[in-house]
């Protein structure tokens, strides 16, 4: 596989949200607005890239039977680092996403990429994979966030264009499922045509 295709496969062909259907918990929970989806995507991308790099480095020396605990410790470390850094320098973002940041540890995309890719490939490829999948996840979350914000609050990235409240259900959990479902159909229909 060429370097370029490793980087780009996360966008459409192996999009973590719309094709692999991984990491549904943060996807549904944090996409109440476009900015929240974007921030959550970027936070996950940060962890994904760093954990992919480190795991690809340590994979050859980690005994097979303990590779999952070893990977999880690495992932949890980066998540905690991210949490502390966010708390220190972007307290505003931390206060909206705070609850979901520690949950990145159990996001199956991160461990999934460690298992499926970083454990078997070199450092550069793993870093590219992390970037690609991270961008794919961020885009997916942002799109879901945009749709839910338009329908639920009548605004995009906080800029209101309709007076009033919008359809409140789209801000809550049922709206998350409905929007995700329709976007899945749309995405796969377009992706298959190509």
């Amino acid at each position: 596989m060429s370097k370029f295709s490793i980087l780009t496969k996360g966008l459409v062909k192996e999009n973590p949200t719309f094709v692999l259907l991984l990491g549904m918990c943060p996807t549904l929970a944090t996409t109440t607005s476009a900015i929240n989806g974007l921030e959550m995507g970027l936070a996950t991308m940060f962890v994904l890239i760093l954990s992919n790099i480190v795991i690809s480095l340590i994979a050859p020396v980690v005994p097979d039977k303990v590779h999952i605990p070893a990977y999880i410790v690495v992932i949890a470390t980066f998540v905690t680092v991210l949490q502390l850094v966010m708390q220190a320098f972007t307290p505003q973002v931390y206060s909206t996403l705070g609850l979901f940041i520690p949950l990145i540890v159990v996001n199956c995309i991160v461990l999934g990429r460690a298992e499926a890719f970083a454990g078997k490939n070199g450092v550069v490829d793993s870093a590219l994979d992390g970037i690609g999948i991270g961008i794919g996840f961020t885009l997916a979350l942002t799109v879901i966030g945009i749709v839910r914000e338009i329908l639920g609050s009548g605004s995009v990235f906080g800029f209101k264009f309709i007076a009033g409240d919008g359809i409140l259900a789209f801000v809550m959990a049922p709206g998350a499922f409905i929007v995700l479902g329709y976007l899945l159909v749309l995405f796969n229909k377009i992706a298959k045509k190509q």
């Binding site: 005994p63 410790v73 680092v81 850094v85 454990g119």
Partner: protein
């Protein structure tokens, strides 16, 4: 490919990974400790200046008082003659989604000066509006708790609840009410 698993190398490997990771975390903690404290001090200072009066010295250290078995944290604002004129009480109640913490500024005669949400876990787009909805927050400014009822209209009070968020609004009003009671007790102690 991965090394063959033996008891010794499994233990060594996990020990090594944990050791390095703990070191990284300890380092990050040390580096971010001061900025985190700085950020929370700044947030508190901003909140205090918002709920208290424009003039007067604000105590830099928190004081504590018990009321109905709950411990409240508060800050005192003193005017020129060194007499306390306003208190900022940190008041936590259970909202719709979890704890809702407010900072409530209360003047001498039980008048609410202003309120600010410090932290909440209310539903985004619904209860979370208690932090941003001007028309809701404004109601509490200058509210004379001695002669008016700090309850939402549904409960027979005078507070207009946020649309579709009665539980959050009720909790908010309750938090303000508690803070007023705390301020009354603080004043009792002064006399």
């Amino acid at each position: 490919m991965a090394a063959k698993s033996t008891l010794v190398n499994m233990a060594l490997c996990l020990f090594g990974v944990c050791l390095v990771c703990s070191a990284i975390l300890a380092g990050t903690y040390a580096l971010t400790k001061n900025p985190i404290e700085e950020a929370s001090r700044k947030a508190l200072k901003e909140a205090l200046s918002k709920v208290l009066m424009a003039e007067g010295e604000i105590s830099s250290e928190a004081a504590y008082i018990d009321l109905d078995g709950v411990n409240y944290e508060y800050y005192t604002q003193t005017a020129e003659a060194d007499s306390a004129v306003c208190w900022a009480v940190k008041s936590t109640v259970i909202g719709f989604g979890g704890p809702l913490t407010l900072l409530v500024g209360v003047e001498r005669n039980g008048v609410v000066h202003a309120t600010k949400v410090l932290s909440h876990s209310e539903t985004p787009g619904l209860g979370a509006k208690c932090e941003t909805e001007e028309s809701f927050i404004r109601q509490f400014e200058g509210f004379e708790s001695a002669s008016r009822s700090l309850k939402v209209r549904k409960d027979g009070g005078e507070i207009d609840a946020i649309t579709a968020s009665t539980i959050t609004s009720r909790a908010y009003a309750k938090a303000v009410e508690n803070a007023v009671a705390v301020a009354a007790k603080i004043q009792e102690g002064l006399q």
